[in-house]
């Protein structure tokens, strides 16, 4: 959160800020940014890449997170509040004349560059959701009829009715102005993507040429510093060092940053770790050493039981010079993905009774208490219950996580499964009410493989617990731990047109932070064919409801969507965890924003 953040006592020392100093931040185990260009593919779209790396360098048109709420921060945004034409078909945006570090002004052309790129690169762009013609739903940029830039003014004409909140929160929020210095197709070869007319054929090929060059350069870690492309920034920070082998990188203030809140610190270093154990060992060495970690995290197994009033209670590293600030409730839901289109287990997951039974075997509260010691809260549906600011329907606000393996078992046996063995076996195939369901042959086993990220004891335990509890209901989960990256590359979209991506059965990769789809309509996540929806989930009714939200300004449409999806099970929910930070006592940081971003420009040492 920006702006008024920091009022909370748990944000640390309240003395007056000092300018200067270096902060060393511990990275999560084996996790570090690997793409610098803020135009990510689906697999590059991770919080590490976007909010902990790219956004420090390249500021989006609209910046979210005000006072730790799901709310736009107008000061930090480049774009002024958009103005709508009366008919609601045209929206005009004035860009503040911020400067790129190469001296050029951030103009509407820069925003159009991004829009053109996203219109050309629909197959590669990670945020793209294809139009659903069956229900007449269109998403960005398919819902744009024309886009023009003139000086600081960006004008977009729509070809469909939209919910304006949604359009700002979920569509305009994606736009990241790109410097014209990037409009190149090779070193020193001028491109035309930024200047082509939106939607023209020339735009498609010109942008593709730019894309090929930029996307390749974006992953060449060894050239981040040497490649002039990436020296042009407009964020508060610029890259000082980057080591693609270890994952270490450092940021220093961008002197030509034009926005508010210029950094206090001289430098922020991100320190890689291969294991949480090692990170913890370093924290234990104390915060005073020359190379001490100033901002780390406490592995779940070492945390004391969570005390919401004073998160610092029982902090094992108090003596080492650290305090624990109030945890950030991310605007997110946690789940693992089940592959509806997997030829083997897809038919199973397509049975609502089965996924419901599966969800019943997930002991969220048990995990929260047993694994996370209270540093977590249950995921109860598709719209985050925390933090404040989300449009929760009364029904979903009242939703509780349940755990009832006996009921789950009952569900299976009442649908034609022999649950006397694990895995249960379908004995009564067919589509009747008490039969296994469509596509499930006799003898099918209630079994699938769940891959989850290695390197964290908490994850291991969670997987073991889910396996153990599912077995109680006759469902056999084969849990396999793999590196986070591996799971990321494996979990590519699975669809009839991409059968090669359908190998995996279930993946615990990480949940969804509603960023930049800040309005949790689900169109960018659960809609048929949505970019992140790689698990082949498709519910025509749901698509319709979601599409309706994008068009109507009525919040009841949102509630209708929510209440519908509450009885659906697009994913299997698991607890949302709260990160336990360990911060050097001299360092003031306010609670992080709900979008998992790092905002080190707000951090300072106190006198």
């Amino acid at each position: 959160g920006s702006g008024g953040g920091g009022s909370n006592g748990a944000d640390g020392p309240t003395g007056s800020p000092v300018h200067g100093g270096v902060v060393r931040v511990a990275e999560a185990p084996s996790t570090f940014p690997n793409a610098i260009w803020p135009f990510d593919t689906a697999s590059q779209e991770s919080t590490v890449n976007t909010t902990q790396f790219q956004q420090l360098l390249y500021r989006p048109l609209y910046y979210w997170g005000l006072n730790d709420k799901v709310s736009l921060d107008p000061d930090v945004s480049i774009g002024q509040t958009p103005t709508w034409s009366a008919d609601g078909n045209t929206v005009t945006i004035q860009l503040k004349p911020w400067k790129w570090s190469n001296g050029e002004t951030v103009t509407a052309q820069d925003a159009l560059f991004w829009i053109n790129m996203s219109a050309a690169e629909t197959t590669t762009g990670g945020n793209y959701t294809p139009p659903n013609t069956a229900i007449g739903a269109k998403y960005f940029p398919d819902n744009i009829a024309s886009a023009t830039a003139s000086g600081q003014t960006l004008t977009l004409t729509l070809n469909t009715q939209v919910n304006q909140t949604w359009f700002l929160d979920n569509e305009l929020s994606q736009i990241v102005p790109m410097p014209l210095a990037w409009d190149v197709t090779g070193a020193g070869q001028q491109g035309k993507c930024a200047t082509d007319a939106f939607g023209s054929d020339a735009m498609k090929s010109d942008c593709a040429a730019d894309y090929n060059y930029l996307s390749a350069a974006s992953t060449k870690g060894s050239e981040y510093l040497s490649n002039p492309l990436w020296s042009v920034v407009n964020g508060p920070w610029k890259l000082k060092s980057y080591d693609g082998t270890s994952g270490a990188y450092g940021m220093v203030p961008n002197p030509s940053y034009s926005g508010p809140q210029k950094p206090y610190l001289d430098e922020v270093d991100f320190v890689p770790y291969t294991s949480a154990t090692k990170e913890y060992a370093d924290l234990q060495a104390g915060s005073s050493g020359a190379n001490a970690i100033d901002f780390g995290y406490l592995p779940a197994e070492n945390a004391a039981t969570f005390n919401a009033k004073n998160p610092d209670t029982g902090n094992p590293l108090s003596g080492q010079g650290y305090y624990t600030n109030a945890p950030t409730y991310l605007d997110s839901i946690e789940y693992y993905q089940i592959n509806f289109a997997n030829p083997t287990v897809g038919p199973l997951f397509k049975q609502p009774y089965f996924t419901k039974a599966l969800q019943e075997t997930v002991d969220q509260q048990g995990m929260i208490d047993g694994i996370y010691k209270g540093w977590a809260y249950p995921t109860t549906g598709a719209v985050p219950a925390e933090p404040a600011g989300n449009p929760l329907s009364p029904k979903s606000a009242a939703e509780k996580a349940t755990y009832d393996p006996a009921a789950a078992k009952q569900l299976l046996s009442s649908h034609g499964w022999d649950t006397n063995q694990t895995p249960a076996v379908c004995t009564s195939p067919g589509t009747g009410a008490n039969q296994c369901g469509d596509g499930i042959a006799a003898g099918t086993k209630a079994a699938y493989t769940l891959e989850y990220p290695s390197g964290s004891t908490a994850n291991d335990t969670m997987a073991a617990d889910m396996r153990s509890d599912a077995a109680k209901a006759g469902i056999s989960i084969n849990t396999v731990s793999k590196a986070q990256n591996t799971i990321g590359t494996e979990g590519v979209a699975c669809s009839p047109s991409q059968p090669a991506g359908c190998q995996w059965q279930a993946l615990l990769y990480g949940g969804w932070v509603f960023n930049p789809d800040y309005y949790p309509t689900g169109d960018a996540l659960f809609a048929t064919g949505a970019g992140p929806n790689i698990w082949g989930f498709s519910d025509p009714k749901l698509d319709q409801l979601a599409a309706k939200v994008t068009k109507s300004n009525d919040v009841n449409d949102m509630y209708a969507y929510e209440d519908y999806i509450a009885n659906d099970q697009p994913v299997i929910y698991i607890p949302n965890t709260l990160q336990t930070n360990e911060v050097t006592k001299k360092l003031h940081i306010d609670a992080g924003d709900p979008f998992q971003g790092f905002e080190p420009e707000y951090w300072y040492y106190t006198k």
């Binding site: 949480a276 154990t277 913890y280 060992a281 234990q284 592995p299 197994e301 070492n302 094992p316 002991d363 048990g366 995990m367 208490d369 047993g370 694994i371 290695s454 390197g455 004891t457 291991d460 335990t461 997987a463 073991a464 617990d465 396996r467 153990s468 509890d469 077995a471 849990t479 396999v480 731990s481």
Partner: protein, 305 residues
Amino acid sequence: MTTTTDMTSDLPAPAPGTEPVERPRSMLRRGWEVFSENKLALVAVGILVVIVGFCFLGPLFYHSDTTVVDLHSVTRPPGTGHPLGTDNDGIDELGKMMAGGQISLEIGLAAGLIAAVVGALYGAIAGYLGGWIDALMMRVIDSLMSFPLIFLLIYLSSVYGKSKTMLIMEVGFTSWFGITRLVRGEALTLKVRDYVSASRMMGARGNRIVLRHILPNTIGTTIVNTTFSIADAVFALSTLSYIGLGLQAPNNDLGGMLDIGTNYASQGFWWMIYPPAIVIILIILCFNVIGDALRDAFETRLQKR
């Protein structure tokens, strides 16, 4: 006896044939005597027997379910119901150690035996054939031995998988080079021994010489080094598990238990670390001590005492 073979003169000397063919202690007996003189080795055998009993027979007497996770009783210190406490999954540590020890031992032994068979055969054949073939076969071993084992193992396990059978093959594959070298060295000296010449002169072929004469005489080396390679296999396996490239949950070997346990070191949950660590160290230690004693026993085999 005919007169011509009567070696006695008319002198009062006993016929040489009736010389007492005194039966000295047999080779095995003598080996055992040397071995059993080594008190440390006897203790090691004892400990190993206890550990094997603990791992394989223990579950018959001590019942615990090592598959059911119980998040309401995680990381309990030792106490009633859980003599060695519980782990982060709420699983009884003692029962888990039995299961983990079983797997560690099974893989270690199987891999060690594979190494012994492959290594001894390869070495004996290379040594016997000699010349170009030997040179080539040994360069292969040289280069395989240049690979740091753990690198090779990491590669193999990440590529070919981490199931029990694959791990046996992988660990087995990486542990036969040492035996091969030694056996080959011995084969080189054995094949020029007179008894091999004698056999060759009688018309014996290569396979007979390798199988009947060379291999049996390298058995000492092979046994001694199998013992060591079992220790090494257990060692390697635990390392592999520790870095997360060994067996996958819910099949945990002792190394995997340590991997988890060490995460809780700063919490003071000693029962998740030291019991499995001690068992694994004891297994490795015992096999090494036994191997050492066996080597002594085999080396002094023909020594007059």
